[in-house]
């Protein structure tokens, strides 16, 4: 069974059809790329999957269970985590606390226990602290753990967003333009990191990206949207030669 399945998903905003009858499947452990020119509806697809919008039509299934229209928080607890195109960190919190918040969704937190400072609560806090720092180490952010998120350089903020998403222990990770604003070397490191995450944790990754080198370099399947509709699906080598894709990006001859 596919991990994520979209069938006939349409999202209308008044007269605007942002996503038009889009269907695809993401298998466990797959690296799936979603590309398209500006305004093609890529981020809207993300927002529909994560419950920010309820799709106008169509069904979204996570391991067979319909998640369309559920609240974002519940979908995250079902195992879908995401990053944002315009970084959305908790900027006045420290780096390690940004990650700890995301651990919260798997943490048994009781207000009473917190107020009485029970032993189980303290042990739980210790565990979350330890695991958060381990996670930061993977992303080479451990030295910046006590720094406020807003003070991090841009590339580190992007990595912290991925680390934070990982802390929810997802089965499906949605990355919205993770390489945006990165220089070629940072983008290369990011590609290695994304591949490493997939191999290490076996999670599926759905990637929206404008950097073609990144998309073509790591995705096994690439899905091209234009004006909300699917125009091509296939392995990167095939997509690069697809006349429809070339037309969408470069304009008709």
């Amino acid at each position: 069974m596919a991990l994520l399945e979209l069938s006939g998903v349409t999202m209308r905003f008044g007269g605007l059809i942002a996503v038009n009858d889009v269907s695809f499947q993401v298998e466990p452990g797959q690296l799936y790329g979603l590309i398209g020119p500006n305004g093609a509806g890529k981020t809207t697809v993300f927002n529909v999957i994560t419950g920010v919008y309820t799709p106008t039509q169509g069904v979204i299934r996570l391991e067979g269970e319909s998640i369309g229209g559920k609240r974002t928080g519940r979908i995250t607890r079902h195992g879908v985590a995401r990053t944002f195109q315009n970084i959305r960190l908790f900027s006045d919190m420290t780096v390690v606390e940004n990650v700890k918040v995301a651990f919260h969704c798997r943490q048994a937190a009781h207000l009473g226990a917190a107020m009485l400072r029970t032993k189980t609560h303290a042990a739980e806090e210790d565990r979350v602290d330890r695991e958060s720092r381990e996670l930061l180490k993977i992303f080479h952010l451990d030295r910046l753990a006590e720094e406020k998120a807003r003070n991090l350089p841009y590339g580190s903020q992007r990595r912290l967003e991925i680390a934070r998403a990982m802390a929810t222990s997802p089965r499906l990770l949605l990355l919205d333009e993770p390489a945006a604003g990165m220089n070629p070397q940072e983008a290369n490191e990011l590609m290695d990191l994304i591949r490493w995450i997939r191999d290490q944790y076996g999670m599926a990754i759905l990637l929206v990206e404008h950097n073609m080198k990144v998309v073509m370099g790591i995705c096994e399947t690439v899905h091209v949207l234009d004006y909300g509709s699917t125009i091509a699906v296939g392995p990167p080598a095939k997509i690069q030669k697809d006349p429809k894709v070339i037309e969408a990006y470069l304009g008709g001859a």
């Binding site: 928080g73 959305r88 960190l89 420290t94 969704c105 943490q107 937190a109 917190a114 739980e124 979350v128």
Partner: protein
């Protein structure tokens, strides 16, 4: 027993042998009540980032409910506790009143919070303002608690000891909440609600719980207020009162507990201290506020706690505050 001894001592004198003026004692007690109000409002406005202007409404519920309990059932409860000394009986009666007042304010907080916390920013502010006024007008029309004549005949059960005991409890409760994993979700909501929800935080639940705790503490502050002044009138709980509490937390710094304490004390200190300027008092006070907001728009302490401003060697064993700082 030591508690009751301290209680008796503090109701007359603060330090053995030093008699302070009743005026100064009253200012201190009102400052203590302000501390409870400011610290509890900071939980929702400063830490959760949900701008509420209805705090006076919850304070009113606590004040009237607790006063109703002690006035109506006071004799019965006192008779049932005849074996205790006078101070013990009064204390138990006050606690019973505060428990009912706090609980009713918490229920009101739940009922107001569930629909209104779906809104953000300005909209939430207006809705809480509206609810605060609805509560006040509702109480104004209940004849059993005096209606427009005001609620009289309340015993003086609250004093310096009780007020500062509850101020300390409020500070403890709020600081433990914001330092817990639950508190982290509140700060995350303040920083970015969409991201918090995307990280699996049940934002509605967190906001409503924070609102309930904040309302309950405001109710307790109201109960102490009524049993200290021995008279209640709904005019004490207009939205102006809510604005006053907001001024306190803005002066001290939204998101700082010690800042709220400082703000509450400064507010009453300034408004009382400027009395010698008679008709220019509020002009001067407003001028000082404007100057403060220009010089330090984030409030005196900002998001920091007072202890973190001290050199490190002076604060061994003190946790770093949750918002960094």
């Amino acid at each position: 027993m030591a508690l009751w001894a301290a209680n008796g001592l503090l109701s007359g004198t603060l330090v053995p042998g030093v008699q302070i003026s009743p005026y100064f004692l009253q200012v201190l007690c009102l400052a203590g009540i302000n501390i409870i109000l400011a610290v509890s409002l900071n939980l929702i406005n400063g830490f959760t980032g949900q701008f509420s202007i209805g705090h006076a409404g919850f304070m009113a519920i606590g004040a009237y409910a607790s006063a109703y309990v002690t006035v109506t059932f006071g004799d019965k409860i006192r008779a049932a506790l005849a074996f205790l000394p006078q101070g013990g009986r009064d204390g138990a009666l006050l606690l019973a009143g505060l428990a009912v007042g706090g609980a009713l304010a918490a229920i009101a907080g739940f009922l107001v919070g569930v629909p209104s916390l779906r809104l953000r920013g300005d909209y939430l502010a207006i809705v809480t303002l509206g609810f605060g006024e609805i509560i006040r007008v509702f109480i104004l029309n209940i004849d059993a608690v005096g209606g427009a004549r005001g609620f009289t005949g309340i015993s003086k059960l609250a004093n310096f000891f009780w007020i500062y005991l509850f101020a300390a409890i409020t500070i403890l409760v709020v600081s433990r909440i914001v330092r817990s994993s639950f508190g982290r979700t509140l700060i995350a909501i303040r920083e970015d609600e969409i991201a918090a929800e995307a990280m699996g935080v049940d934002t509605t639940r967190s906001k409503v719980i924070s609102f309930i705790v904040s309302s309950a503490l405001a109710g307790i502050a109201g109960g102490l207020f009524g049993h200290y002044l021995m008279y209640l009138h709904t005019n004490s709980f207009t939205f102006i009162k809510s604005i006053e509490i907001i001024i306190m937390i803005v002066i001290g710094g939204l998101g700082s507990i010690t800042g709220s304490v400082l703000g509450a004390v400064l507010y009453i200190g300034l408004t009382e201290g400027l009395r010698e300027f008679a008709q220019y008092r509020m002009v001067l006070f407003s001028f000082l506020l404007v100057v403060l907001m220009i010089v330090r728009p984030q409030g005196i302490l900002g998001h920091r706690e007072f202890l973190t401003l001290l050199p490190k060697r002076w604060r061994l064993g003190v946790d770093a505050p949750p918002a960094g700082g």
